[in-house]
Symmetry: D2
Subunit: 218 residues, 4 copies
């Protein structure tokens, strides 16, 4: 699984987000790989209406129906066409109680959940809350261009071991600094089910070529 | 101006949000009043594609293009069809530095801005940042059913005076507990340019009837 | 163990905090029970200089030495005489990554740690981070006067079971609504090692009498 | 006025904070300059008991007496011996509503207030809330070693002008990158009443010598 986090880059906002999503759809179909696009909340509806690969939200708050102005609910992103979401990304960390509440709300709404973590202990804490996936991303490597699979393979294998000991069916992804086919390959060899990536593809001079180069790592 | 905050109520999420927006559009046209719908971020695109009254966001973060996963940018809500936004609603308070940064981002994106405040001093602080509107809403009255125009008219007139002394062209709205025509009338008589309201309409047994009753106050 | 959280009540700030701590010390010695006082950060040094029972902080941030103006570090509360701390109290919830970082900092500083949680899943997530204690406090019962041991015994026994399955040596406390001897007794019978309490004692007309009535429950 | 922010540096925590405060007291007396020490909350009581120069807190929350575990109240830092406080430092930004509530609580407790800001618009917003001082500190220069008075004199003069237009009796300080006598001199020449500084003195190989070098700028 390749989850492409659009963050709030200009190259992946609004019409550019739609264009990039269509590239992802094309590469996904052509190479037979599972690519998930993760656009901003406001872009979910436009993209989900136009492409048929999975669209995930970047964040869901731990609140439901009610007086929660300005919050992102599981029900709203589901209604807009998302089929899953990141929770607790390093750029949008949540309180422990809110991660748990968000997971409950997402499960009720039928969203697949990826809880992001920063080290092995927080990976373990996330895993006991039984999300669908945990994504380990050491914050110091995010956007660094240095792949976590090379810079810190132990945090990846440590996370895989920790999660599998807690719950066999919680998947593990890794992220931070990943952009090339060899990084993806290394991540899978370390025992993960896939990767979370962003700038390496989104800021590439040729997004499609970068994505193709990535998937050839499989 | 009547701004209807959809919050995250079930009666104003997804398809229900679209239905309510169409009611607002109808009443707006029929009675010649300016009604603005303020749905959740994920619902903006669907609604703006289907109705022609203004759609505002509930919240915009003080960040721009870049590595800000899970944040709501001015550019993204603008691309989705919003023409304005609330900032610093009592259910989504922002740091002072972020209110300022959000206002700069919204101005660049061409969004009309309504900064929400809780008392006269914070109204004054918001006004010097020169948003298009300040909306005073005493938090203890929000969702109370007791209209601010009756319960605390001084905070409304105090806000109007304070704002007009700072900048003539910053508009003043008021909110909290408003649902009836007489409340709207009272708010305008206190010197405001309009109201911000939510549960009184959204949770009404008949939303259209409640909205019609409201606008007859004009 | 009885941990008395002083919160920011007037009856437990500054000189009043010192007076209450001396009452706790007296009752602790007289009845041979382990009472811990948990005053505001600014009161720790005064109290630890004057009483010999343990003094805990109410909160420690997940940061260490450096540019963290306005944060509470483990090193600073340790230097002021604290021997332990609450982390993630329901009135001061932390991000998951900060709970973990706070625990690491507290361990380095030699502080005993009590991580507060709101339900069984978050208790489990806290337990895998291996604090000295987890304190389960359903937020809706805090300050209610209805003891958790009566209102929701299942959340207490569920927490004890969950923690003991994860790590035998992590203790379990419970809190919320506890003020009487029978509540304390019930909490211990449900398998906890003690209680966390506040308003029931602090706001009592006679703090000493209330504390004595509590400990007779043992 | 020279306000020395101790942040959470090892060189200014616990006993080291006391030692540094005594150096400040000595230099203050010797050179006849007003030096204020701004230690961590837990260190206030120890320092205020031992030195006679003003001790300020680094942060006060916008809450009063009540159920606010882990928060820093104006009453508690006052009781511990503080005579003033920073509010909204760039490393501890507050929501607008909380800045206002903190100012009200500090005024009631008799604390002198310094609200920190990041640019001219937020300086203006802080000034209308009528603190005793506003301290402008461009965040990108904090800890940089490049003094704001050289790198961005316009933000300083712009802040002084903006504040004086709003309220003559609100003082202006500046900070960020200041460590030398010439920086202090430049800051005063730009119209400020003093400076806020930290690492330039605290991390100096010889704190006393660095402080003496600073005050000779007067």
């Amino acid at each position: 699984m390749i989850a492409l986090n659009f963050k709030t880059y200009q190259e992946s906002t609004g019409e550019a987000a739609l264009k990039l999503s269509k590239i992802c759809e094309e590469v996904s179909g052509q190479y037979g790989v599972n690519i998930i696009v993760v656009p901003q909340t406001a872009d979910i509806h436009l993209i989900s209406s136009e492409v048929s690969i999975p669209v995930y939200a970047q964040h869901v708050d731990g609140v439901g129906y009610g007086g929660y102005t300005g919050h992102v609910t599981a029900a709203s992103v589901k209604a807009a066409g998302a089929s899953g979401t990141l929770i607790n990304h390093s750029e949008r960390r949540l309180k422990l109680a809110d991660i748990e509440a968000s997971l409950v709300a997402c499960k009720e709404a039928g969203l697949t959940t990826i809880v992001c973590t920063n080290n092995v202990p927080t990976t373990r804490a996330a895993a006991v809350l039984l999300p669908d996936y945990v994504a380990i991303e050491p914050p110091e490597l995010i956007g660094s261009g240095i792949p976590v699979s090379k810079a810190d393979p132990d945090v990846v294998t440590g996370s895989v071991e920790a999660v599998k000991k807690i719950a066999q069916d919680v998947g593990v992804l890794c992220g931070a600094g990943i952009s090339k086919g060899e990084d993806l390959k290394a991540a899978l060899e370390l025992g993960t089910e896939g990767v979370l990536l962003a700038s390496g593809i989104i800021k590439a001079p040729d997004q499609k070529k970068a994505l193709e180069e990535l998937v050839t790592g499989l």
